[in-house]
Amino acid sequence: MLRVCGLTMSYPNGKLALADFELNVAAGEVVVVLGGNGSGKTTLLRCISRTLRPSAGAIWLDDVDLAPLSGERLRRARLPAAMIWQHASLVRRRSVLSNVAMGALGRYSGMWTALGGLPAIERRAAYDHLSAVGLAALAGQRAGTLSGGQAQRVAIARALAQQPRVLLADEPVASLDPAAADEIMRLLRDLATHDHLAVLCVLHQVELAYGYADRVVGIRDGRIVFDRPCTDLPRDAVRELYLSEAA
């Protein structure tokens, strides 16, 4: 589903953010990336979502390599991958339902959507996605009135409206309380299990990784330290990942 081969990213100042990175995420799998600050986790997601252009390597989404693409070809090729951010990033003055339906805009090119309209079929689908994340009752409410946890669930519903096969999540629970964080991770787990989405999630919370991931990838200085199933991941290995940062 998602395959990253030899991904390398170096910034103009010479700093190597990712070095020869290899990663596979299959359909129905939740892979969590752990690592200290500045280890390259967010750069990895930004390269995969192609908001950054990698210096070298390939990013295979299904059978298309995103790395060399740009412009309209990139926009089209990227459609199967949806992104969830640390903050929900909703249009605060529009309704919750409209925000969700906006996730489908990429599939439309007509005058109606260009003028600010949303197809009726997508509004209905958006309602279903909101039901899936348990927020159908808030469909008509302004997005700016939601709590952090609710907003993040709406962001997930918007990602689902995109009809993705891959979900990329960059610290999606960083600004949430433990109960809301648990809820969001359970939702991502369910989407992988029942809808067969490939989920790649950057986290700082080790317990959540143990609780919901199939595999955990440890990363330090842009390089993979370990890539193991959760069931075969000693706590010492994770502790060492963060200890070396503290040192």
Binding site: S49, T51, R75, R76, R78, L79, A82, M83, W85, H87, S89, L90, V91, R92, R93, R94, S98, M102, G103, A104, L105, G106, R107, Y108, S109, T113, A114, L115, G116, L118, A155, R158, A159, A161, Q162
Partner: protein, 269 residues
């Protein structure tokens, strides 16, 4: 610390204090010189105020009471003044929005377009609305239309700049998120940017409408119609009672527009 050890520091402080006092003195003298030269250049003669007070009192005496019998003749110019401002503001908004998009550093499609639109906005603002009105009166003749055009073009300056600043200061996270869903540029604009900044744009436009109503009165003096044109005519014909009526109507329009604009802007906020 002994007094002896503190002495060098005290000496140092007295020097810096002296310099500070000297700088203040120089600033005060410079300010006084600026005021004096301004009074000389504008040929300010306070005695004229005293001798002119008689003439002013005479005009006020002749303007009283206002000639309310001519109120029927004032409605149309009053409506013209309001419509001048409405047309001018709407025209300004229509032209300022696309220019502001090009002139906002975070959404402009190219650097060249950014500088070109910033230049246009700056030019529209730099030329006073009275000068624009004179130009348009020459081009399309007397009447309210050149006044409305003048207000439109001059409004681009203020609206374009403030709209561009609003766009530059908006939260870009929802816009970036929308872009990553695969939405096209125009969809991002209509679904993300417009809803985010619309209340601010409306607030600015309402404030401009309030300003334009005041400007539209003045534009009448150069032949651009409305109450200003009637005021000029009445003063030329020494019809001071009509002048006072026109001033009362102008006052009511300006205050009403100001209040309405303030109330609507408060609701948008």
């Amino acid at each position: 610390m002994s007094l002896g050890a503190a002495a060098p520091h005290l000496a140092e402080r007295s020097w810096t204090d002296a310099i500070r006092v000297a700088v203040r003195l120089v600033c005060a003298v410079a300010l006084m010189l600026i005021v004096i030269q301004a009074a000389i250049v504008v040929r300010a003669r306070p005695q004229d105020l005293i001798t002119g007070a008689y003439g002013m009192a005479d005009i006020i005496r002749r303007a009283m009471p206002p000639d309310f019998s001519k109120i029927d003749e004032v409605w149309w110019p009053a409506l013209e003044t309001i419509d001048l401002a409405i047309f001018g503001t709407l025209g300004g908004v229509i032209m300022a929005v696309p220019l502001a998009i090009l002139a906002a550093v975070n959404v402009t499609p190219s650097r060249a377009l950014y500088y070109a639109s910033r230049g246009l906005i700056g030019f529209a603002r730099a030329v006073p609305d009275l000068v624009w009105a004179l130009l348009f009166v020459t081009a399309v003749g007397l009447g309210p239309f050149p006044g409305a055009l003048a207000l439109s073009v001059h409004s681009i300056g203020m609206l374009g700049r403030l709209f561009a600043e609003t766009i530059e200061n908006m939260d870009m996270a929802p816009i970036d998120a929308l872009a990553l869903t695969g939405a096209r540029r125009v969809q991002i604009f209509t679904h993300g940017i417009i809803p985010s900044i619309l209340p601010s744009l409306l607030g600015i436009a309402l404030y401009r409408l309030d300003e334009n109503i005041r400007s539209s009165v003045v534009l009448g003096f150069v032949g651009a119609g409305g109450i200003g044109f009637e005021l000029l005519s009445a003063m030329s014909l020494f019809q001071y009672q009509l002048v006072s009526l026109l001033l009362i109507v102008t006052f009511v329009i300006v205050i009403a527009a100001e209040r309405l604009s303030a109330v609507l802007r408060a609701r948008l906020g």
